[in-house]
Symmetry: C2
Subunit: 264 residues, 2 copies
């Protein structure tokens, strides 16, 4: 969100006397493991600085309000087998072969698309890693996948984990292991908030759902309505072709400026 | 084959004047990677010491002649995909999900059971390792399995590799990689050899096929008929319960002694 930071710095410099009580929060580590998130560090040290009626996150959204965010969780599923010599595999059970059912089920996951406050979310489920194997002549007794599930704001972490479990249950047996590795809750769109509603109007575009996870969820958890709004194409983020045009920076700055003045 | 070595040492000590021209060959590394195999080292240094009309390998066979041996090969199959954010997986392609077809096909491999010289072989195919994954929020663009195929003596390495390829072909696409990691040929039963035939008769049991790979193939490749015959249950080899009884050691020694005297 370097583009969003540029816009915020520009506005902070321009607005000598902001029309509303305004806090600019610049922090590190918003995309990496939760324990490195600067917003959490700030919250632990000075929660008073984060008191707010509403929050806007400068995530790349192409100058469109992206409402709420989907939650994300990762589970590690480890299947059991029984070792044997590969010349006599029927004396054992191949744990890697057992993955076939799980991979087929997840590949066939039917995307659930709940519409909340007019925004259509799209849940996803993907295997993000797989490992298994003992030796070149051994039927392996363990095979593991990590599954990443992205879930819509109408579900809690527990409900979302339960949905993954329900999909994979037919392929699990005693001796297998199930572990929730990490999870971050979703955030509802909160577009009934008057400031966010004004932001949508000023942006000139219909809002859409944020499909990734962002710190909007941090604010939502603390009762602060929040939305994503910044320059830059989210599909280009983290790619070699990542860029943002000057016109888009100016447009986003202008929209935020207008909303701040209207609220003043 | 510590039991077989014990029998050979016993006979070597007992037979001051062997009734036939006899070479005892004790070597290291018969079960590990081919480059460490002592028989190969000896062959490179002194092939004349391995000149023979027939060879008996002291592998654990429970005192039954196990004829020939199956071949073994390993192929690494690496599937391609396209990276994307797991919140927008349709922008990419999950290479791990693609494994489902391959695992299902191999798990459903129909065991081919050719009968050669009255011995029934049993081909096998097992995935022995799997790996893949980029990061917890990335649709992975690569997933790899290693497949171990055990094949009967009526097929060459090339024919056996082709059989694996044929089974997996429906799941392969341009951009995938196929690599033959290693292979060792099978050996035919060679029970028409008069000495091996006499060994079968003296053992008192019908011969059976050797399903694993052994150095019988080393001799077969060099035109020397060979068979596996030694004390010890092959299903116990390399397990914590590995053992061999004194009676079985004595029986195997007695059979070999009788065959040697009869040939003398």
């Amino acid at each position: 969100m370097k583009g969003g930071l540029a816009v915020f710095l520009h506005l902070a410099g321009m607005l000598d006397a902001p029309p509303v009580d305004l806090s600019w929060c610049f922090y590190a580590g918003e995309e990496v493991a939760r324990e490195h998130n600067g917003l959490l560090h700030l919250w632990e040290a000075r929660p008073d600085l984060l008191a707010a009626d509403v929050a806007v996150l400068g995530e790349p959204t192409g100058g469109v309000v992206e409402a709420g965010c989907q939650g994300t969780l990762r589970v590690r599923v480890s299947l059991a087998g029984l070792r044997a010599h590969t010349a006599r595999p029927h004396a054992g059970r191949n744990a890697i072969h057992r993955l076939a059912g799980i991979l087929t089920a997840i590949d066939g996951f039917e995307v659930r698309r709940p519409v909340i406050d007019g925004c259509e979310y799209a849940e996803q489920m993907q295997v993000v890693s797989v490992e298994g194997g003992v030796a070149g002549n051994v039927v392996p007794d363990r095979a593991t996948v990590v599954v990443n599930h992205r879930f819509a704001p109408d579900r809690t972490v527990a409900q979302a984990e339960s949905a993954v479990r329900q999909l994979l249950e037919p392929f699990l047996e005693p001796g297998d292991h199930w572990e929730l590795l990490n999870a971050a809750p979703a955030a509802p769109p909160a577009l009934d908030d008057p400031v966010l509603s004004a932001l949508v109007a000023a942006s000139g575009d219909a809002p859409r759902a944020k499909l990734g996870w962002t710190d909007v969820a941090f604010f939502a958890e603390r009762g602060v309505p929040a939305a994503n709004f910044g320059p830059g194409d989210p599909l280009l983020a983290h790619t070699p072709g990542e860029h943002v045009g000057a016109a888009e920076l100016a447009q986003v700055a202008s929209v935020l400026d207008a909303v701040l003045r209207a609220e003043g």
